[in-house]
């Protein structure tokens, strides 16, 4: 009476274990392949200028919208502007509605692909949610270009605090 029960318990445990391993294996495989295809790397305008950024792969850039660079294409919902880390700048073209807090001279983050002609085709443009907040990507770009102090004033330690 006792033995079959123990064996059944063992078999059940084995089945559950195999099922769990199968689930874990599937998840790992899914995750790894997805990472390969869908990990989006961040690049600064200087990376792009130094040709460190891959062409025609989904990526994310960040920096400030260069003063005086915003142009609207006549009659189409298309805008062009330049994103700068104050050392280098990338031309960006975007078809769509700019976020509410998009301004020249302010921080911006864009998702999209770098075309072979050096123009960044943005599929998504993100500005801040809030007047007093700078996206970490923008801070990162400015820190890497060594121009952080020019924006926030000397002696200020990144990241910027709201209060």
């Amino acid at each position: 009476m006792k033995l079959p029960k123990a064996r059944a318990a063992k078999r059940r445990r084995l089945a559950v274990l195999l099922l769990a391993l199968l689930g874990l294996g599937t998840a790992t495989a899914l995750t790894l392949t997805a990472f390969d295809d869908h990990l989006v790397f961040f690049h600064t305008p200087s990376d792009v200028a130094e040709k460190k950024a891959p062409v025609d792969r989904q990526m994310r850039i960040g920096g400030l919208v260069e003063m005086g660079s915003l142009e609207r294409t006549q009659g189409a919902p298309e805008v062009r502007f330049r994103v700068t880390d104050l050392e280098n700048a990338i031309p960006v073209v975007y078809r769509g509605v700019l976020p509410d807090l998009f301004r020249e001279g302010q921080g911006v983050v864009a998702n999209g692909k770098l075309a072979a002609d050096g123009v960044f085709r943005a599929s998504e443009v993100l500005a801040r949610h809030d007047e007093n907040y700078m996206p970490p990507e923008v801070a990162e770009a400015l820190k890497r270009s060594g121009r952080w102090q020019d924006v926030v004033g000397p002696g200020t330690a990144p990241p910027p605090a709201r209060n």
């Binding site: 029960k5 059944a8 318990a9 059940r12 089945a15 559950v16 099922l19 769990a20 689930g23 874990l24 599937t26 998840a27 899914l30 995750t31 392949t33 997805a34 990472f35 295809d37 869908h38 990990l39 989006v40 790397f41 961040f42 989904q58 994310r60 003063m67 915003l70 609207r72 006549q74 009659g75 189409a76 919902p77 805008v79 078809r95 769509g96 509605v97 700019l98 509410d100 807090l101 998009f102 301004r103 020249e104 001279g105 983050v109 998702n111 801040r128 949610h129 809030d130 007047e131 907040y133 996206p135 970490p136 990507e137 990162e140 990241p159 910027p160 605090a161 709201r162 209060n163």
Partner: protein, 679 residues
């Protein structure tokens, strides 16, 4: 004076919580009923004190007391009353007070309603709950005092972030917190059970209503947040796999797994250690979610303040809570005896499958959410993980889960017959195939995956009702009998059917809006028109409008379906001068089957500097300049939220089941005080 009273109440609450976290636990360990009995009044006192503090904070916001720094930074005298009140928790400090309030409320509820809990379990649970209270109250008192004064007081406040000035968002944080914090009670129960070394059917039955309540509010909170993102952010999307969304989604997934594994623990006395582990994980993920969202390491509207000290404090709470609980688990869990045996094909087996898939799905979301942070912390490249990653990992895991949902309830405990279950599900199968065929026909066979997904939605919806129909003998007994059986059906069974049907409705909405959304972006002059999804939009012009604390430009559009005027839509852009921000207000017209969604962007020449004062969209209101107009047709999208609502309804119905009524069940063996019995 009132602000000082609030602060004082918080400090007192901290002291009470400190006592509550030690005395009853010590009493339970020594078997001293007098010490254990202190848990109840302490839990009440803690709740009343935090409620007093919260009341003081709301008072400060309502009367616009600008000597309080928090009010200055987050309110304005001209703000509508609803947002003055909701502003009290629309900021870091206040939201933490709300968190502690709900924590104390749950503690007090266990003290009040857990009359039939064994005194030892109750005392231990309340002590653990108080320890969490100590952590969060100390966090508030030492790093985030909401009652900080500023002298001299400024004449007026800086206003709440306008994106947060929204009725949906006024209730989003409280609902989400009830969910997060609800898992704290389940966590406390799990810890108490581990200390006692005993988990039985009665324990699982006590835990289930709390899990249900927490999970239902989390569902409602997430749905509300997603709805808000849909109508307020103006992108026409409802879920972005944003880390902030994932932060609330992970505890939800684990909570759903916990709901199901607790059934096995209750009915079959199996999966007990796993259930305990899920209880720990649900709360751990709630804490991690809070940390991610509030610490400012993520860019989002939720990151109120970037203060390293606070982040470190929350991180310390997480490390202690998760590390401590997992250590206790590792030490005590092996002592819990495993229960009933079952075949892989059985109700238990189906619930195990549910748990495995939900846990694995949580793991993929966890990796996708935290990997960029880890990589950055380790000095690696700066990366981000977007929707494509989650679509490639999360969605494939959900398909087998959703296919299995309809089988689960039809399988018997211990061992079951899969072919027999499929036989009983043939009605659902026929209807699902019909749904696929109709979809393909309406879509002209263009999107096979979407048609299959619609079939899946039908499978879920009708599968849920097949089981119900069997139980009430629909079509097989006279109507009077059916009615009687339906009325007498346990509420928990009703709840399951409704919730599973709700999942089907949600899948319907997700599929429809993902597969058949159509979009149009145009520059339009007043008088121009465009077509989208069989509707004609005519742009009549723009006009200026003034709100209580904003100026707005409103676009007026007439929407025609054929010759008939179908709707007038008025999307807006608003300028909040005090906060210095603008927001987009989408205009949405729904007929339940589909939404028309319209926003206006900038006029031509907008966005450039050199227009000091009002931005271009205010200046140019009423002029003849072209405006950016964006329109969406979102088929079936309302069913995402209606489906979530139905899921919440199901959980609510289940909560009213007599067997789940808190305190109703008694532990079979030992009704009296039980000293720690770890065997």
């Amino acid at each position: 004076m009132i602000a000082e009273l609030g602060h004082y109440a918080l400090v007192l609450a901290l002291c009470v919580a400190l006592a509550q976290s030690i005395v009853p636990l010590a009493g339970a360990q020594k078997g001293d009923p007098a010490l254990m009995a202190t848990a109840k009044p302490a839990a009440y006192a803690q709740f009343l004190l935090v409620a007093l503090a919260f009341g003081c904070l709301i008072h400060a916001f309502v009367v616009s007391d600008f000597t309080v720094e928090n009010v200055v930074r987050n309110s304005h005298s001209q703000k509508p009353m609803l947002y003055k009140v909701s502003g009290a928790w629309g900021n870091h400090e206040g939201s933490m007070v709300l968190w502690s309030l709900i924590l104390a409320l749950f503690g007090a509820s266990v003290a009040a309603f857990g009359r039939n809990l064994p005194p030892g379990l109750k005392a231990r649970t309340l002590s653990i709950q108080a320890m969490i209270g100590v952590a969060f109250l100390a966090f508030i008192v030492f790093t985030s005092n909401p009652f900080e004064r500023v002298l001299p007081p400024p004449p007026d406040g800086q206003d709440l972030n306008p994106l947060l000035q929204d009725p949906g968002l006024a209730f989003h944080p409280p609902l989400l917190y009830v969910g997060y914090v609800g898992f704290s009670i389940v966590f406390a129960f799990a810890m108490a059970a581990l200390i006692e070394g005993r988990v039985d059917a009665a324990w699982a039955r006590w835990v289930r209503p709390w899990t249900l309540a927490a999970w239902a509010s989390l569902t409602a909170g997430i749905a509300l947040g997603s709805w808000w993102a849909y109508y307020e952010l103006g992108w026409g999307g409802w879920w972005f796999w944003d880390p902030v969304e994932n932060a609330s989604f992970m505890p939800w997934l684990v909570g759903a797994a916990l709901l199901h594994s607790a059934i096995v623990a209750e009915k079959r006395d199996a999966l007990k250690t796993w259930t305990i582990l899920l209880a720990i994980l649900a709360f751990a993920l709630s804490l991690i979610g809070t940390f991610l969202v509030r610490s400012g390491i993520l860019t989002s509207v939720h990151a109120f303040a970037v203060d390293p000290q606070r982040g470190v404090f929350i991180l310390a709470i997480i490390v202690v809570a998760i590390g401590g609980s997992l250590a206790l688990y590792a030490w005590r869990a092996p002592m819990l005896k495993g229960g009933g045996l079952f075949q892989p094909i059985s109700r238990e087996g189906a619930l195990v499958l549910n748990n495995l898939l939900l846990a694995t799905a949580t793991a993929t979301v966890f990796i996708g959410t935290l990997y960029p942070l880890f990589l950055e912390a380790l000095g690696g490249a700066k990366v981000s993980v977007g929707p494509p990653f989650f679509n490639a990992t999360f969605v494939p895991l959900m398909v087998p889960l959703l296919l299995a949902v309809s089988f689960g309830p039809l399988l018997g405990w211990k061992r079951a017959d899969l072919a027999g279950a499929l036989q009983r599900l043939r009605a659902a199968l026929v209807l699902s195939v019909a749904a696929i065929v109709v979809t393909l026909w309406m879509d002209h066979g263009r999107n096979l995956i979407a048609a299959a997904a619609i079939g899946l939605a039908a499978w879920l919806f009708f599968g849920a009702w097949v089981e119900w129909a069997e139980r009430v003998k629909l079509f097989r007994a006279p109507w009077a009998t059916v009615w009687e059986r339906a009325v007498n059906l346990p509420r928990a069974a009703w709840g399951m059917t409704i919730a599973h049907a709700g999942v089907g409705l949600m899948v319907l909405g997700i599929t429809g809006s993902t597969a058949w959304q159509s979009e149009s972006i145009k520059m339009m002059r007043p008088g121009e028109r465009f077509d989208l999804a069989g509707y004609t939009f005519v742009f009549k012009g723009t006009e200026r409008r003034e709100g209580p604390n904003f100026f707005a430009t409103r676009g007026v559009f007439e929407v025609y379906k054929g010759e008939r005027l179908y709707a007038t839509m008025t999307p807006e852009k608003r300028l909040f001068p005090v906060a210095g921000t603008t927001t987009t207000e989408a205009s949405i017209r729904t007929n339940i089957l589909a939404d028309l969604y319209l926003t206006i962007g900038d006029p031509e020449g907008g966005g450039q500097p050199g227009s000091p004062g009002a931005p271009a969209f205010i200046v140019m209101a009423g002029s003849d300049t072209p405006w950016t107009v964006r329109a969406y047709h979102n088929p079936l999208v309302p069913w995402i939220w209606l489906g979530s609502l139905v899921m919440v309804l199901g959980a609510g119905v289940s909560l009213t089941d007599r067997r789940h009524r808190v305190g109703a069940p008694r532990r079979m063996a030992a009704p009296g005080a039980m000293p720690a019995a770890a065997e």
